[in-house]
């Protein structure tokens, strides 16, 4: 999403794209922080969050603790302002600590382990 937004700045369609992002009743930003973000990420995210604040819901999933956001987005002031708004009427759900992916990976191993167990007669 942030990459697309950065591209729209170049091709001159940023306003239309931003209008869509700020007007939908529920915006889900999934897996933020999974890869390197563009330089303008903090500013763009702050603008989205500010314009949606108390007007529409934003749901954000982030795989890093809140303390790391400033370092990852590269702008502590923008992150503080963004978190201030998100947490004001926000619901914080802590997912984990274990990853569900490891659960599905563990199952076949556990099954193989059972098969390999020697049968006693």
């Amino acid at each position: 999403m942030l990459d697309e937004l950065a591209e729209t700045t170049i091709d001159g369609t940023r306003k239309e794209h931003m209008d869509l992002l700020v007007s939908v009743p529920l915006l889900i930003i999934d897996d933020l922080g999974m890869r390197k973000l563009p330089m303008t990420s903090a500013e763009d995210l702050l603008e989205i969050v500010m314009r949606r604040y108390e007007r529409a819901s934003t749901l954000l999933t982030f795989n890093r603790p809140v303390e790391d956001w400033g370092k990852l987005l590269g702008d502590s002031a923008a992150v503080t302002a963004m978190l201030d708004r998100l947490l004001h009427h926000g619901h914080v759900l802590k997912c984990g600590p274990r990853s569900w992916r490891t659960k599905t990976e563990m199952l076949p191993q556990a099954r193989d382990g059972l098969r390999a167990w020697p049968v006693l007669h």
């Binding site: 529920l26 889900i28 007007r55 954000l60 999933t61 947490l87 802590k94």
Partner: protein
């Protein structure tokens, strides 16, 4: 106007929901005593049902859910016992969307967060407006 012409005319008027069921409804009207107003009411409600289903499908497609068929019904809460189950279900009602509140899902379990966040998103698809999933 015979049935084929009627079907064509209904589709021309963009009343595909009515066109799809008109034959069945006419049989029903003949089989059981049905007043004209009841027959028309049935046809209109068929059209409305079909339109709302189409709208829901379109919004779900636009939302680009990774696992659209997955829901919280089959979700294993015992794997991460510390996860706030009541908050998950509160959020899944979608009430926070009407109140313009935000939600933050933190942690490594993206599958859990994705499924949890898609639940209210699916609900938001049935209210006016659209949901938008961005990655």
């Amino acid at each position: 106007m015979n049935l084929i012409e009627l079907d064509r005319a209904l589709r021309q008027l963009r009343l595909g929901g009515m066109a799809a069921v008109i034959e069945t409804r006419l049989h029903q009207a003949q089989a059981e005593p049905m007043t004209p107003i009841d027959l028309i009411s049935c046809l209109v409600s068929d059209e409305l049902t079909r339109r709302s289903q189409r709208l829901l499908q379109r919004r779900q497609k636009q939302a680009q859910f990774r696992d659209p068929q997955k829901s919280l019904d089959s979700f294993d809460f015992t794997f991460n016992k510390k996860m706030n189950r009541s908050l998950v279900f509160d959020l899944a009602t979608g009430a926070f969307i009407a109140k313009h509140e935000d939600a933050l899902f933190l942690g490594p379990s993206s599958r859990a967060s994705h499924r949890t966040c898609c639940h209210p998103a699916r609900l938001s698809c049935v209210v006016p407006g659209d949901s938008h999933l961005a990655r």
